[in-house]
């Protein structure tokens, strides 16, 4: 039983996803919550085991040898991401209960939650798999389920966004598939360990270069880095808020995981030659940070505002990735986690507010909302502050490590990060000013929304955020250990 634990953490969401299709709708929320809770527990124990053992855990699917069949590999990095996705999903599922019942027909709940569990399965599968084609398959499972989830809202924009997502997502996936084809043609293997062993001899091969760039391009589209992932803004806007929350907090983080995996353990760019890739990534991330901050400042739609904020934060994450030092990777891992916490709260809170404003998404209608919803406003403010990186919130830890890493690389990067921080301060402060200190001429029509689970959920996540802000020794230690392993 014990040696089956690695596979169980993705089988449980998959099986319970299929189970919810069959069982009555009123049970589906409970089933998905329970199954994610079990998966979280399992992934936590696997994480603890892997962290303390010297060797990564291998698991051959169906008993086939790794050179023929599909191999699963659990090392601290993948296990960290699995635990992280499970945790964020469980928070999201807990909080979205009441919002879902407003947005989606009660009869279709079983379908909705089932598809969501399958989407999460896809994400977990990407993290666990050591087989590049299996990774592609898992990405597709997640992507196709996500298209359906995005299109599940009541609004017409929702269906439009789903279709957009389908088109752009398919472009990204096709890129990845082509890239995989190139690599398979040259190396003759799909197993990442075998490919990485062959890599030192094949770095000059043009087919490998083409394949790697296609894959990276495709992943950057999924990771929502600005010029590549711009289409995601309209998708975050069109999708129901709880879906935007889960997309912004988990699926782009998995793409980041995939980048780390490919960069550092397959292509080993930090050991061989970066081939201007690091400069390109730095350039794109800086463009992303500044452009998206400015765009966020100019937005008049609340969900687009948070979407651009999310995209600019992804810029920071990719910046940390491109620096490729021990500190910067530690910062990156913490940044991923805290950014997921922040964006979950921001999107869910905005969903709650939009619902109570009768689906009004204009930023202007949220002026002075603190008088009506003091708790929600305070939570939004705390998370925006964490987004900026104010000390005593979780966002500070990642920002500080990123600053330290960029100081060690070049003084110029420090200035970039400081100015980027100022830009993110500008748009966040515009929003804080709007909800706290502005008032409207005509009273908005507010309909009572009963979403206790949402309020409880986002309060809990904010509490966790502040807890990490003041007590972060544990998470820094483990992420530091992981980043040491990545660079080994």
């Amino acid at each position: 039983m014990l040696h089956q634990l690695p596979i169980l953490q993705i089988l449980i969401p998959l099986v319970s996803g299929l189970l919810t299709f069959l069982l009555p709708s009123r049970l589906s929320w409970l089933i998905s919550l329970l199954s994610m809770a079990i998966a979280t527990l399992i992934s936590f124990s696997v994480f603890n085991f892997v962290l303390n053992s010297a060797e990564p855990l291998y698991y051959n699917l169906g008993g086939w040898a790794s050179n023929v069949g599909i191999e699963y590999k659990i090392d601290p990095l993948s296990s960290f991401f699995i635990l992280f996705i499970c945790l964020i999903s469980i928070f999201n599922i807990f909080s979205m209960k009441d919002l879902v019942s407003y947005e989606i027909d009660p009869k279709k709940h079983s379908l909705f939650f089932g598809i969501m569990l399958i989407a999460i399965t896809g994400l977990l599968g990407v993290c666990i798999s050591n087989d590049i084609f299996n990774i592609y398959v898992m990405l597709e499972i997640n992507a196709i389920a996500s298209y359906a989830l995005v299109a599940s809202g009541k609004k017409t924009e929702s269906a439009k966004a789903g279709f957009n997502y389908l088109i752009f997502g398919t472009i990204g996936s096709t890129m990845i598939l082509f890239g995989i084809g190139f690599i398979y043609a040259v190396t003759g293997s799909l197993n990442l360990t075998i490919i990485s062993n062959l890599m030192p001899r094949m770095l000059d091969n043009d087919a490998i270069k083409a394949g790697a760039s296609l894959i990276i391009f495709g992943i950057l589209m999924k990771a929502a880095l600005f010029p590549f992932g711009k289409f995601l803004v309209s998708i975050y806007q069109g999708a129901p808020s709880f879906i935007s929350s889960i997309l912004a907090s988990t699926s782009n983080k998995v793409a980041i995981y995939l980048l780390i995996r490919l960069f550092f353990s397959v292509f080993k760019f930090h050991k061989y030659s970066f081939q201007y890739l690091d400069i390109a990534l730095l350039l794109f991330s800086v463009i992303a940070i500044f452009t998206c901050s400015v765009k966020a400042y100019k937005q008049t739609n609340i969900k687009k505002f948070f979407a651009y904020s999310s995209l600019s934060q992804i810029g920071f994450i990719v910046f940390a990735l491109a620096l490729a030092s021990e500190t910067s990777l530690t910062g990156l891992l913490i940044y991923c986690f805290t950014h997921a916490l922040e964006k979950t709260v921001l999107f869910l809170a905005s969903g709650y507010l939009i619902l109570s404003m009768n689906n009004d998404e204009e930023l202007g209608s949220f002026a002075g909302i603190v008088k009506k919803y003091p708790l929600i406003s305070v939570l939004i403010v705390i998370n925006l502050l964490s987004n900026i990186g104010i000390p005593m919130t979780a966002g500070f830890v990642g920002k500080w490590l990123l600053l330290k890493a960029s100081f060690a690389t070049a003084l110029f990067f420090v200035l970039i990060i400081i100015f980027a921080g100022l830009f993110s301060f500008a748009y966040a402060f515009k929003f804080i000013d709007l909800i706290l200190f502005k008032s409207q001429n005509d009273e908005p029509i507010i309909s009572a929304v009963n979403a206790k689970s949402c309020v409880w959920g986002i309060s809990l996540i904010t509490a966790l955020n502040i807890y990490i802000g003041v007590n972060n020794q544990y998470i820094i230690n483990i992420t530091h250990q992981i980043s040491q392993l990545i660079l080994k």
């Binding site: 104010i390 000390p391 500070f396 330290k404 400081i418 100015f419 921080g421 100022l422 003041v470 820094i476």
Partner: protein, 493 residues
Amino acid sequence: MTLLGLNIILPIIALLTSFISNRLLQKFVIIISSFALVIDNLFILLSPATSLELITILDGYTIGLFSDKLTALYALMISTLYFSTNLYSFFFLQLQNHTELHHDINPRIHFFFMPIAIMASLCIAYSANLLSLFVFYEILTLSTYPLVIQSFSDHARRAGRTYMITLLGSSLVFLVFALIFLDQNYNMAANELFKSNGIFNTSNLPPKDAIILLICFVFGFSKTAIFPFHKWLPQAMVAPIPVSALLHAVAVVKSGIFALVKVFIYLFGMDYLKALHQEIPWSLDWITLLACFTIIYAGIMACRQESMKKILAYSTISQLSYMIVFLSLTSGTTFTLSFLQILSHSIAKITLFFSVGIIYVATKRSEVNEMQGLIRIMPIPVILFILSALSIMGLPPSIGWLLKNLIFQTIKCDNWINSLVTTCFIISSLMGCYYFFRPIYKMLSPISSIDKPNIGYNTCSITWVTTLTYSLAILLFAYFEDIINITHIFFKK
């Protein structure tokens, strides 16, 4: 230790009262808590030095407080003026409810954010390391923004925007850079506890890095309103009188200066700065020159203003640069001068603001030209105004006069920079005489009975508060020698 903790707890109690609906209870709690704050800081002044660790935000990065005689004296001044401003605000609010004012107090915002601002400025005074100084400095900026824009007019919003951009922008750019610079190059220097003779000495900090750090700190603490970053202060005068009086004459601007004092004395150390000054004169002379320029510039601007509050704002900018000049001259005696200037200017300026506030709330007059013959109608505020203006100008009988004497005794014109400073002070004093003379002349000149302003309200209580506040200056006058001794002993050790 608990005494230091009370500096945080008491303001929090005061701000919690903005959630209760009983106005009388709210007043009672706020007054008791602010009085307790005064007593608390008095006890800290009398008790030996202590320290308090508050919270660890990262491994090895702690936010903490510590006290010694110098900081406690400063904190005592802040808390005393906070107490009197609270009394003033309550009476101001009562009068405001009868009249239609442009700059009115919004009680919910005022009594929620004012205690936070005071807590932050007390913690800046007591901060135990550079990181805590930075954190509380930013809290102060964030908490005073709502106080500036509390009337929610377009004018106030524009001022608020300038306020945020200048103060936060400069501090985030320069101070964060200084923090990361110290942290990376001098391993944890950002977290190292302040020492009364400085962390650095000539062996562990090369002059090049010291100059970079000095640039960062002088521009980073832009609450000092030094030249390129001075625009926010006159604009912030859209805030109600009590806010302008406490924050933009005392708590906020003096926190900027005191942060600079802390960095100069506790981080660099006087001996280090003196050695640096001797080795590379320009490393500190540029600060002197910039501050001298600010003094003259702000003086000229003050002469050109028509609104009373704007005159006071530019006068504040000019006086703040005095303190920076004293700091940049780097000797124990000029540090003493800087500290005395902080004390005397705070009390004089807050009284000026209070009297302008009384005049405004009673007669709705805020321009210089409208001050005609006010001495006949409201003698006590006008006399208070004149007395404190004398203190700023440095004329007898006032604390400012004693201080000016001391300044001209201390700064010997033995090199060009000292001569320049002395010239600059003389010009600035003359300009001070001019820009305060205009309103005083108007106040004292007779009026015809036609345009005699009518006051329908009893301003007796609010005048009493102002008089009591000014009596602090008399106390300071009486104990001037003692205070000089305290600071001298501190700086000599």
